[in-house]
């Protein structure tokens, strides 16, 4: 479970980019974080994962504060960043082994997950290649496999769909659903509203550092009293803000 409690953040004094944000993502839930560019999505994700300091408030990961108990909190996070250009000089298998070591994944478990996921993503033949020779989509896939190696209780993804081919998008969506079904949190940001509409249990629409809407798609439609697509509802909410 991820609990964001009264979190504020500003890069320049007096100009809050995130303003008193509250959000609770329950176990077994997929929550889509949507908003226009510069809304604060990535800032929130960076605060949840410990990349950015929190100015005010706190974030709890399974009850552990990311500020006060970062080691314990980070153990239950799996983070897929928006930029998959990681450790380009390592071979795919070296990278996965390195991540497995960091998260203390046992030998049998790591071999099982690597075999299963690399087959699913059709990159098993490239595992002995350097990541610098991978395409953008392949890099994204290897990062996702790395994240899932330790079966994180809280899977956080920043724009995960970008650069993936249609089959990989489909596989990823299935994986996210399966991960949530096991009682884990899946929290992701996206620009692609269709993905959020099909996949999420709830969506949070953020703009100018504030959550404008939090609920299911049905609740959103009821609120707007219109039977429009999520795209139209999203545009309506942003316009009203």
């Amino acid at each position: 479970m991820i609990e964001i409690e009264n979190v504020s953040k500003s890069y320049i004094k007096g100009a809050k980019i995130i303003d008193d944000l509250n959000l609770k993502i329950k176990d077994g839930e997929i929550l889509g974080f949507i908003g226009p560019n510069g809304a604060g999505k990535t800032t929130v994700i960076k605060m949840i994962t410990g990349i950015l300091n929190i100015d005010e408030g706190d974030i709890l990961i399974d009850g552990k504060s990311i500020q006060n108990e970062p080691y314990e909190a980070k153990k239950s996070i799996g983070f897929t960043p928006d930029n998959p250009d990681m450790f380009l000089n390592l071979k795919g298998i070296e990278y996965l082994n390195f991540v497995a070591d960091i998260y203390k994944v046992g030998k049998e478990e790591r071999i099982k997950v690597i075999k299963e996921l690399s087959k699913k993503f059709e990159i098993e033949g490239a595992l002995n290649e350097k990541i610098e020779n991978y395409s953008h989509g392949m890099r994204q896939k290897i990062v996702i496999i790395g994240v899932l190696l330790h079966n994180p209780k809280n899977w956080i993804l920043d724009e995960p769909i970008t650069g993936l081919d249609p089959k990989a998008i489909y596989d990823l969506k299935i994986m996210m659903k399966e991960h949530a079904k096991k009682g884990n949190v899946v929290f992701f940001s996206t620009h692609i509203l269709e993905v959020a509409e099909n996949l999420c249990d709830r969506v949070a629409i953020i703009n100018k550092g504030k959550i404008l809407f939090l609920g299911t798609i049905e609740e959103l439609k009821n609120k707007m009293k219109e039977n429009n697509s999520l795209e139209e509802l999203f545009m309506e909410i942003i316009k009203n803000d």
Partner: protein
């Protein structure tokens, strides 16, 4: 054709000089905010000082006329090393080459523009290392105005020789390579081989000349023979020096130009046959993938997180050609040269000169000597630039360290390990070489010197990593930018000066103490500095300040 060469040269040269930000884009005046302007000034001041010292020393020995020989001998070696390191990148692995391939550009146009870019790079080296010494030399011998005109002519002509020679060699090497499977390993190997070839050639030549004369001549005079031998091994150097001395100007100019015409003819002939084909070998390397089977049992071994992290730090340094060439490679080369010079001096000059041998054998270690040893260690430790680029080398993915479950303090330590290992090796080698040259240094003094040298290296590494953490360069386009456009290096230079001044100050305080106590005081001083730095790091991490800029 010439129009295209000029255009292509202009583009690549402008890009090269733009990196230094020497001039303000709006006012076109010197950019005082550019770190390079200040670095150039510092280097020029140092070169001026050293040249003055050398000139007055030579004047005392009545050997003023050998100054150009020494200068050209040093400069040509620097130029060769520079050009070997840069040539592979500019000729074959530069990112813009792939964009140029579809354009209607002839082979010789592309090749000559690349050669011109390399030559322009060496003009920068000349500007730093040769112009002022030659002006000072001119002033010392009260040369006429025409001397300065010939200085410009000679400086214009000199870089052509190493550049064209290395380019021809590179073209030939590439011709015999069928396929490049690993770009990084290939770059490292070719650069290593070329440098070793140059060093080996120098060694054989110097040995041939000096061994005959070492018995009769003083070491100071011998410098002339070494420099002469270097210069005569590169056929245009002596004619260029003669032009400078206004000795048979037209004949020597004709010699140089004839050599250059011949070299360019060979370059264009080989280039036309091989250059584009060679480039294609480098651009298709990653498309010929072999799908190797994974041996999961072998390749999925379990390590402790920290062990895996340390291994990964080393891999990032050793597996990337640019990182390796810019960090470990220069210091490894310097250490090999130092070992060679010291051993050669010991078995050559010292063994054959009884008086010199007795003097060195009888010299006890003094605090001045200790200061010099630690000064050398500090200067050498400042060369690898490993800690000062530790975070920057990771680029945008440096944030990885912030979301993994390993404490930031532990990660800070681990990131220091490569530089600390290199610094420790430097300390051990320098102290052993000191023992080799001055046998009177006792075993306890050696142990104390090595330990203190190591702690100096550790302090240097910690400080430089703090600099990189506070001011990381994460948004780079090419790996070279981390080293070439890194203003943080000024902190390394400043700390090196401060450390040497501190050592000199401690020496002054301990003037009347036994040398053992002197070294011990230096050790304790740097150990205290180390503890203070650690306390500051822990506090900064607790306040979320140290890693704040890695986002």
């Amino acid at each position: 054709m010439i129009k295209n060469i000029v255009l292509l040269t202009k583009i690549s040269t402008r890009n090269f000089w733009k990196n230094f930000n020497l001039f303000n884009k709006d006012t076109k005046k010197i950019n005082k905010k550019s770190i390079y302007v200040w670095l150039f000034l510092i280097v020029i001041m140092a070169i001026t000082y050293l040249s003055n010292e050398l000139l007055s020393m030579l004047e005392d020995y009545g050997q003023l006329q050998i100054f150009p020989n020494i200068l050209f001998a040093i400069a040509i070696v620097i130029m060769f090393i520079q050009i070997i390191i840069a040539s592979m990148n500019i000729l074959y692995f530069s990112k813009d080459i792939e964009y140029m391939l579809p354009m209607p550009i002839r082979t010789e146009e592309l090749l000559l523009s690349r050669v011109n870019t390399l030559i322009n790079m060496l003009y920068g080296v000349e500007l730093l290392f040769m112009l002022i010494p030659l002006i000072l030399y001119g002033a010392s011998i009260m040369a006429p105005l025409s001397y300065y005109v010939f200085v410009i002519v000679v400086l214009m002509l000199l870089p052509v020789f190493p550049t064209v020679l290395v380019t021809i060699l590179t073209l030939i090497i590439m011709k015999f390579i069928k396929k490049i499977k690993n770009k990084n390993a290939f770059q490292i190997c070719v650069t290593l081989l070329a440098i070793l070839f140059i060093v080996f050639a120098e060694v054989i030549f110097i040995k041939g000349v000096t061994s005959n004369q070492i018995d009769q001549e003083l070491i100071e005079v011998n410098v002339n023979h070494i420099s002469e031998s270097i210069n005569s091994s590169f056929i245009v150097i002596n004619p260029l020096i003669s032009i400078l001395n206004q000795d048979q100007i037209f004949l020597n100019l004709l010699k140089v130009i004839s050599v250059y015409v011949l070299m360019y003819a060979i370059l264009i002939w080989i280039g036309n046959k091989t250059y584009i084909k060679n480039i294609l070998k480098t651009t298709v390397y990653n498309k010929n993938r072999h799908q190797k089977e994974i041996n999961f049992e072998k390749q999925c071994k379990i390590h402790k997180p920290i062990t895996s992290y340390i291994k990964n730090e080393w891999k990032s340094l050793l597996k990337n050609a640019i990182f390796f060439i810019q960090t470990i490679y220069p210091i490894a080369l310097t250490m090999i040269m130092l070992i060679f010079i010291a051993v050669y001096f010991k078995i050559g000059a010292v063994a054959k000169n009884q008086e010199l041998s007795e003097t060195l054998n009888g010299m006890n270690l003094t605090l001045e000597g200790v200061c010099i040893i630690f000064g050398i260690i500090q200067v050498l430790c400042s060369m690898p630039n490993i800690s000062i680029t530790s975070i920057s080398r990771q680029g945008k993915n440096a944030v990885f360290m912030k979301y993994i479950p390993i404490s930031l303090y532990k990660q800070f330590w681990v990131k220091n390990i490569p530089q600390i290992v290199i610094s420790s090796v430097i300390s051990i080698i320098v102290v052993i070489l000191a023992k080799l040259l001055f046998p009177a240094i006792s075993i306890w003094q050696i142990i104390l010197l090595i330990l203190t040298g190591m702690i100096i290296g550790v302090v240097n590494s910690f400080l430089m990593l703090i600099v990189d953490m506070k001011r990381p360069i994460l948004d780079w386009k090419s790996e070279v930018d981390i080293f070439k456009q890194n203003g943080n290096k000024i902190f390394q230079y400043v700390w090196t000066i401060i450390a040497i001044l501190l050592l000199m100050y401690i020496r002054k305080i301990c003037e009347n103490l036994n040398v053992y106590f002197g070294i011990l005081v230096m050790f304790i001083f740097f150990a205290i500095v180390f503890v203070i730095i650690n306390v500051i790091i822990i506090k900064q991490i607790k306040k979320n300040k140290l890693f704040k800029n890695i986002i």
